[in-house]
Amino acid sequence: MSADDKLDSLAGSVSDGRPVDWVHEETEANVDEESGVRALRDVSLIAEFSRDLQRGVIDEDATSSDERAEDVASEVPDDDK
């Protein structure tokens, strides 16, 4: 699979809201794919947060949002925060 194909596939998964094993994808990514995979992982976190917010998984009040934010944040490596 070419770098373009792989990134297209990952972009499709992010857009569809399908789960991705990001650790695996980042480990397997070559030099050409690495930055794109990491960027898509970042966008997937925004998408996941937004989806949960829109679907009521995250309560709109601040306390619950903060709790959910911490849950999502725990999925982000420390060097990205």
Partner: protein, 200 residues
Amino acid sequence: MTEAAPADDRPPAPELMITGDLLSRAKGGDRAALGALMERYRPRLVRWASGRLPAYARSLLDTNDLVQETLLRAIEVLDSIEVRGPGVFQAYVRQAVLNRIRDQVRWARRRPGQDGVPETLEDAAPSPLERAIGTETLDRYERALARLTEDDRRLLHLRIELDFSYEEVAAITERGSRDAARMAVQRALRKLADVMGHER
């Protein structure tokens, strides 16, 4: 490929979609169209804004009020919004709400603390979204978004930020099918990732 279920289980009624036709009718003073515009878009926009408004700023102005006021202002100035294509209204309102949030945050940060001393920027707690992904990542996302075309920005706003279904995205952006909308969103995501990736 399967698509995750949309946030709103109710199928989008065509008359409630934010289409160019609805916008034109609203611009023409059609109250029903104005109401539909608000009804369809406001709830998702409120939820989106709630993720971006820090708790300390949110307490000063209810998120509902902030979005409601911004939407009403946008509708008031509809005639001055240059509608270059479908979905432009949403892109305009997204930026307007974001500007209101930033104004609100700046105002909240300048107000005196309990001891009368202005709170510093460092004291300000981040928004729920910033806490989730990090301020730096969110800034990189916003900068990258700003470098995309208007069409790509509104596709990502509708699908990634507001969780509209592909059918709804297709209707709002006047694309022929859900598959065409899905492909367009996927392409926009690739462009966004390319820009964000080069910023690292």
